[in-house]
Amino acid sequence: MEQYSEKVMDHFTNPRNVGTIENPDGIGRVGNPICGDVMELQIKVKDNVIVDAKFRTFGCGAAIATSSMATELVIGKSIDEATKITNKVVAEALDGLPPIKMHCSNLAEEALEAAIKDYREKQKS
């Protein structure tokens, strides 16, 4: 297998923002244990800005590292800015991923989308 970058290993070893938020404003849960990765992202939003984000991930090194990086990228961003965080952005922030691991970065993008969608729906109601 190809090697993980140092950044990936750093985020894997010391993942940032692990856990859950009390009364989160949005929750995104994506992936499938069948495929070997599941990610849950919770966000806290104030004045349209993501002030906190926490994750829990079942998955490989790349899945955990992208989850961690995604939370870091998203905190402090407005909802609109956050929607621009694609899988590519996450992977680049980690100095890249081995080709066969690129799909793991989708997980983070999808979880973020799902969390924002959940937040928006909760706002409506």
């Binding site: 495929c35 070997g36 079942f58």
Partner: protein, 386 residues
Amino acid sequence: MKNIYLDHAATCPTDPEVVNAMLPYFTENYGNPSSIYSISRTTRNAIEDAREILAKAIGASSGEIVFTSGGSESDNFAIKGVAHALREKGRHIITSQIEHHAVLYTCKFLEKNGYDVSYLPVDSAGIVKMDELEKAIRRDTILITIMHANNEIGSIQPVREIAEIAKKHKIAFHTDAVQTFGHIPVNVNELNVDLLSISGHKFHGPKGVGALYIRKGTKITPLIHGGDQERRRRASTENVPGIVGLGQAVEIAPGIMSDEMKRQAQLRDTFIGKILNTIPDSRLNGHATQRLPNNINISFKGIEGESILLNLDMFGIAASTGSACSSSSLEPSHVLLAIGLDHELAHGSVRFSLGKHTTLEELDRVAEILPGIIKKLRAMSPLYNQ
């Protein structure tokens, strides 16, 4: 920090004695074994000596041994070779769902090329269901290929019983003994097989060399055509150092085996006991006793194998997993699914495979470190709620 290598089923270090035996055949005794001049006599004799050693170790005669480039070639040669040689007789092959990819994908290839293949199921301990074997046999069955012991979960198959059925129906029988030879007794007459694959690097021999035992009278078409080497069954200038190394590895392996088998089996059982006791929601995969002495395979609920391996690696511990994440497909181990694990548990499996240098101290250290890793990853998992 000393490394703790617990992936001997993947590959073993070549024994220094083996390397020493090989060395003269690179630079000094380099003559092509097929040549007639006297400097080639040494190399010719060297490969025949190695052949004799291996033949004796498995109860064969030396004319029944063909050297190959490893376990995968041996498996491909055996299966494609018999399938081709007997194609006028029939085109049905029986194998199991838990074979190594070298067997499984060779069978899949044949399936796409006019052959029928039956994949026998196994029970929850990873043992082939014998009643299914009898049912699968057809008039046009030409080959049964079922491994001696599984590389992932260590389950030892009832090869003798399978052979009996094969013999009764006059069907050629191949077994992949890559994980057993050098580790538990392997005798082609006791096992009663017609073809048997071995691979050097799985028992402290060199990588890139293996052998196929072919019982006298077994019809087989070569996989590699060309020169007259290996009695015209496998062309190519012989890998003399590799073959000499294989022979030397055989010489050291069986000598230490019976005591070493017991030692490893004890280490294995002690370790399994400790882990299952200290880590909740963990389970042993494979058969409790009908199992390779060096194989430990455990699934941890709620977490994924690669992330466990990476954590172990930080402590210098090398192991392997059946998770998809360590392969290039998205599917977890076909073996773990075949014994009935759900995907989540299959992804959460770790194999520790012991070697002759593995010590109790090493395993104790792993048993100490592992609970913390599992706990940390579970705390991070959305699928595990403590």
